[in-house]
Each structure stands twice: as C-alpha cells, then as structure tokens.
C-alpha cells in the first residue's frame, strides 16, 4: 500500500463535491437497504443511473456510499419490523427483533450502527492492504487463469444461491448465453442480434439488471396488498452503551476479519458472512442457548460481518475484475460505464483512481456511522412507508433508470423483458444472482478460454497443466459437488 497515494485519495474525496456525494449515497443506501422489498442489489441498480452524469470521483463516492449504507440499512427493518431489508440482514433479525420486542430497539440499533462501522472500516482497511498485492500476482495471470477464475466465481455463486444446484447451473448457463449476444469479442461477428442494431453490443447491463432485480420484484410485489406495518418500540439511544461494547468487542473484531475474507471469495456474499459471523459468536459464547432470544452479541457479530464483507468483496472486484457478490457485480458494471475496467490493469493505468476508491470506502463507513447514528429515528419512520405507494414509485424509477443510460426506449423494453423473465424464474425457484454474475463473467470467460486455446493450439490441456488455473477449476467443481451432496442429504432428512 502506498500511503502517499492514500492521503492524496483522502484529500480528493474530502475536499471536493465527492464528500457530498458520499453523504447522499449513504443516505440513499440506508433508505433502499432499510425498505423491505428493496434488496441492496435492487437498490443499487435503481440508484446507479443517478451517477451516470457525474465525474468519476463523485460517482464512485456515491456508489460506495450506497453500498455501505445499504448493507447497514437492512438491519433497521430486521430489528424493527422483523423483515430483513436485505438478505444480508437475515442473521441480524435473529437477536435484533427479540430485543426490539423487549423494548430495546434503540440498544440493538445503536449496536448495529457501531458494529457495521467497525466491520465496514476493517474491511476497507484490509482491502487497501491486500488488493494491491493480489493485483500484483494477477498481473502474471494468463488467459487460462482468467478463465478458471471466472469459472470459480460462477460455481461459488451457484453453490450458495437457491435450493437447487441444478437450477442454479441452468440459471448461470442462461446468463452466460445472454452475455454472448452482440459482437463476438474476438472476431467481431454479430451473434444472436436478430438484426437489431440495439443488440450489437448485447443487451445493456443496467437495464438487464433493473429488469432482473427491480422489475421482477415489483411485479411480484403488486400481487399482494399488505397493510401498513407498525414499529414495535420507541428509539431512545444513538450510541451503544459501554457495557455492550465490552461484551461484544471480541465478536465484532472476529466477525470483521471473518467477514472480510468471506467477502473476498468471489461469489460468496454478505448474507453468508453474516451467518458465519453469527454462528461463530454463538459458538464462542458461554451461553449459546440464549442466542435467538435477544443477545446483543448476535446483533454485533452479524452486522460487523456483513459490513466487513463489503470491503472484502471489493478485493477481487478491483484487483481481478471478478465481483465478490451480486452487489459488487452491479458496482463493477457501474465502473465500466464510467470507462474504468477493474482488474490488475486498473492498478497499472489508474492507480490514483484505485486509491481514491480505498479512501472513499473508508470515508463512506465513517459517514455511514454518523448518518446511521443521527438519522436512525427518521429511517425508522421511513420503513413504515406505505408499500402500495412505494411500489408504483419503484416502477417509475425502474423505467427512468433503464432509459437514462443511453436515452433509449429500446433499453426500457429490455428491462421489461428481463423483468418478466426474472419474475418467472423467481416464481419457480431459479436464483437470479448466478445470471447477474454470468453477465459480468461471461465475456471474461469466453475471450480468455478462446485465447488460451489459441495459444495452446487447441489443446484443452492448457487449462489443467497450469497450477493456479487447475486449482481454481478443481475448487469450483468441488464447491458444486459438495453442495449437491449436502442438498441430497437434507432432502433425504426431510423425507
């Protein structure tokens, strides 16, 4: 890590409009994160269009603010109304909601803010140290390694999402096929375009994403009309009590580090990190049986782990160009729209941008702490907003968001098409995250596979004779096979 560049990065973010954008991003992120029915992925997909017109530092600051805010925001509704605002907050709910029911919502939320901040900041720090190192190694990667990496990332996300591995694989293959629409990256031949000019570069990323993650959700959302929800208890405090911090600081630190490393595995996301952190705290505890009845350590461990995951997920995204989870896949798409292709070359060609990202990530977490602690009462009101008003507004935002990237109504059509596809896939238990990751990793997998085969004169042995490549491929296959076996066992157990 280069401290001079990092300081410069801090200066770039702190003394400019970028800081305002970080604030706006954090507020927007907490809002979308805390609203039940808006997952972090969907929220970011809806907010990314707001950054299209901004200069790179400001748009990045805003995106990272949204990212950090959204993961924390999920805990607000998990604690207050027993609905995780994002999947990442599902573990927070276990002890957070019982606390709120006892009238300790303020205690749980202030701990959640604090733990999220420590986790997120630790993740950002580890990212700043590790990402440059990994990118150095990655500069030596050849085509075979990149193909293997893409394969590895896809198999992880397939193994962790959804109940059926077969369906996950089918979803992944579907996403990969979509990614081949448009000009062939090597020969330039247009594929599957149906003669449509608009499809020559493939279906645009943001509209596809809005379709799969926003439209599909609201189409499902209009099916049921839900009554307004009530918040169970009043909020009385902003900062955690000293005794709570003393009780859980070991869990917070442990979860922060665990979360960062889980996040850094391509494909594994913050929901998994939160559950691993939670069960680790439960294992360490002297009274594990009390977990689930409102233990402050449970909230602390889950929240620090899922926010630490944000920094961790940025590591492979920045240094390898492989997103750590669905949310970072969206971030990666947003970077590309700004004209930056994450990966080892980013470090060679735009090292200043990389350090701005490090700085922005740390600042975003500090801002999240401030906004979260001071604004928690307001956010607690917002989550009870009438869903029947919210959903129509999301429809409009989805249309505007998909239109605004290229000022194209065709893109709105693309978003609607994928909205319907996503709705049916979702309805029938096909996970959507593998599709998203496949869209990002598909072109990378294809061009590197073909490059590797050209270099080897067509022999597929090139993939298995290089140590890093073979290791990644084997790990990918293992994660798929082991989760199929696990699935079999749990099915047998339930029969």
């Amino acid at each position: 890590m280069n401290f001079e560049l990092l300081l410069q990065g801090f200066a770039n973010i702190l003394f400019g409009k970028a800081l305002i954008m970080v604030f706006l991003g954090v507020i927007g992120g907490i809002l979308v994160g805390s609203l039940p029915g808006l997952t972090a992925t969907m929220g970011i997909a809806l907010l990314v269009p707001f950054t299209f017109g901004l200069p790179i530092n400001e748009s990045m600051g805003m995106l990272l603010g949204i990212f950090s805010g959204a993961i924390f925001g999920g805990s607000i509704s998990a604690i207050l109304i027993r609905t995780p605002g994002t999947p990442a907050a599902a573990a927070t709910l276990l002890d957070g909601y019982p606390m709120a029911k006892r009238g300790e919502a303020g205690r749980a939320l202030s701990m959640s803010v604090f733990a999220s901040f420590i986790g997120g900041f630790t993740g950002a720090l580890i990212m700043s140290f590790l990402a440059p190192q990994i990118s150095k190694v990655a500069l030596k990667f050849g085509a075979a390694e990149y193909f293997a990496l893409a394969f590895f990332g896809l198999s992880i996300i397939i193994s962790v999402s959804g109940n059926s591995i077969i369906k996950g694989i089918i979803a992944g293959l579907f996403g990969l096929l979509i990614s081949t629409i448009g000009f062939d990256p090597i020969s330039g031949f247009p594929r599957f375009t149906f003669g449509q000019m608009d499809l020559f570069e493939g279906p645009a990323f943001i509209p596809t994403l809005i379709g799969l993650f926003a439209f599909s959700e609201v189409f499902k959302g209009v099916e049921t009309i839900v009554e307004k929800q009530q918040v169970v208890s009043k909020l009385t405090r902003f900062l955690p009590e000293w005794k709570d911090i003393k009780a859980s600081w070991i869990d917070i630190l442990k979860s922060s580090i665990l979360g960062t490393f889980i996040g850094s595995i391509p494909g594994a996301g913050s929901d998994i990190a939160a559950f691993v952190g939670y069960s680790e705290a439960k294992r360490r505890s002297k009274t594990p049986e009390k977990f689930g009845t409102g233990m402050i350590e449970g909230v602390a461990a889950a929240e620090s782990a899922n926010n630490a995951c944000t920094g961790g997920a940025m590591i492979p995204m920045l240094s390898l160009g492989v997103p750590g989870d669905a949310v970072t896949a969206v971030l990666l798409g947003a970077f590309v729209i700004q004209g930056l292709q994450p990966g080892p070359l980013l470090y060679r060609d735009h090292i200043d941008v990389v350090y701005n990202v490090f700085a922005a990530m740390m600042i975003a977490n500090i801002v999240m702490f401030i906004v979260g602690a001071l604004g928690v009462r307001i956010f607690a009101k917002v989550i009870t907003i009438n869903r029947n008003i919210l959903i129509p507004a999301i429809f409009v935002l989805s249309v505007v968001g998909s239109f605004s990237m290229r000022n194209s109504m065709f893109d709105v059509g693309v978003a609607l098409f994928f909205g319907v596809v996503g709705y049916f896939l979702n309805r029938f238990n096909f996970p959507a995250s593998p599709i998203l990751l496949a869209l990002i990793l598909g072109p990378m997998a294809e061009s590197n596979l073909r490059r590797a085969l050209v270099i080897s004169d067509g022999s597929p042995l090139v993939l298995v004779t290089r140590p890093i490549s073979v290791a990644l491929l084997v790990l990918g296959v293992l994660s798929l096979v082991s989760s199929i076996i696990k699935q079999r066992k749990s099915q047998k157990a339930s029969v």
Partner: protein, 151 residues
C-alpha cells in the same frame, strides 16, 4: 412444482437446440480455428444436458417438494399481468406525452390498482414523485427525459 420444472427443462432444451442451430450459421475462423460459435455451442450443450437432468429428476420424483405457489387464477397474478401491460403502454406514450404527464397518470393508475383510495394523497404523490424524478434527472443530473408536448 414437478410439472413446472419439466416445462422449464423443455424450454431450456429448446433454447439450447435453437442456439446450437443458429451457431451453425456462424462463419468459421480460418486463422484462429476457434470461431464465434465455439463458446455458445458449449453453453448450449451444457444447457441441454442440465435441463435433461432437471427433467429426469422431476420425473423420478426427486425434485423439490411443495407447490410452486403460482396460480394462474390468482387475482394477484392478474394484477401483475395488468401492471405489465400498463407499464408497456406507459413506456410507449412517454415519448409523445412527455415524462411528467405520462408518469402522473401511470402512478395514479398503479396506486389505484394497489387499492389505494385516498384521492388527495394519490394525486399529491403521483405529481410529486413525477416532478421530483424529472427535476433530479433533467435539472440536477442533466440527463434529458422526454418532454413531449410540454416542451
């Protein structure tokens, strides 16, 4: 779930076969040997294989348990189909009516479908949200939204 899974499997196989057929029309790359059809073809074969697995699993009764929860007669499903139709119409009229006018009407109709009946609130929200989004995108972010006859 069983029948739906088999149906999805068949759709997947059809898609795979279609992709395979289309790649046959792709040109061969004389120099690089591995042409534009190479990767889609691998994917198509894999898709067909895994869809076969899905079908066989479900025929053997080893698929997921439980119902899909999707009922074509469910009024909720009708509502989402209706919303889809209205959204398509909305997208079509935006270039003519302009973003704000189209959105006000669209939001109002959607809220009506969501069983809201507080008329003043509905009018306030639909105009407020439409103008707010227009202001943020067109004025603050300088992303032009269609203005239609208001321009």
């Amino acid at each position: 779930m069983k029948r739906v899974n088999i149906l999805f499997g068949l759709i997947g196989i059809a898609l795979g076969l279609y992709v395979f057929a289309v790649t046959a029309t792709f040109p061969d790359d004389a120099i690089m040997k591995i042409g534009p059809g190479f990767f889609p073809r691998i994917l198509a074969v894999a898709l067909v294989l895994f869809c076969l697995v899905l079908i066989i699993q479900n025929l053997a009764g080893k698929g997921e348990k439980g119902e899909s929860g999707f009922d074509i007669k469910d009024p909720g499903v009708h509502r989402s189909a209706l919303v889809l139709l209205i959204t398509v119409l909305y997208a079509v009229i935006i270039p003519f009516a302009g973003f704000v006018a189209a959105s006000v009407i669209y939001l109002f109709i959607l809220m009506y479908l969501m069983k809201l009946r507080k008329w003043i609130q509905m009018i306030a929200v639909s105009t407020g949200v439409s103008f707010a989004i227009y202001f943020i995108f067109s004025v603050l972010l300088k992303i032009a939204l269609p203005q239609g006859f208001l321009s």
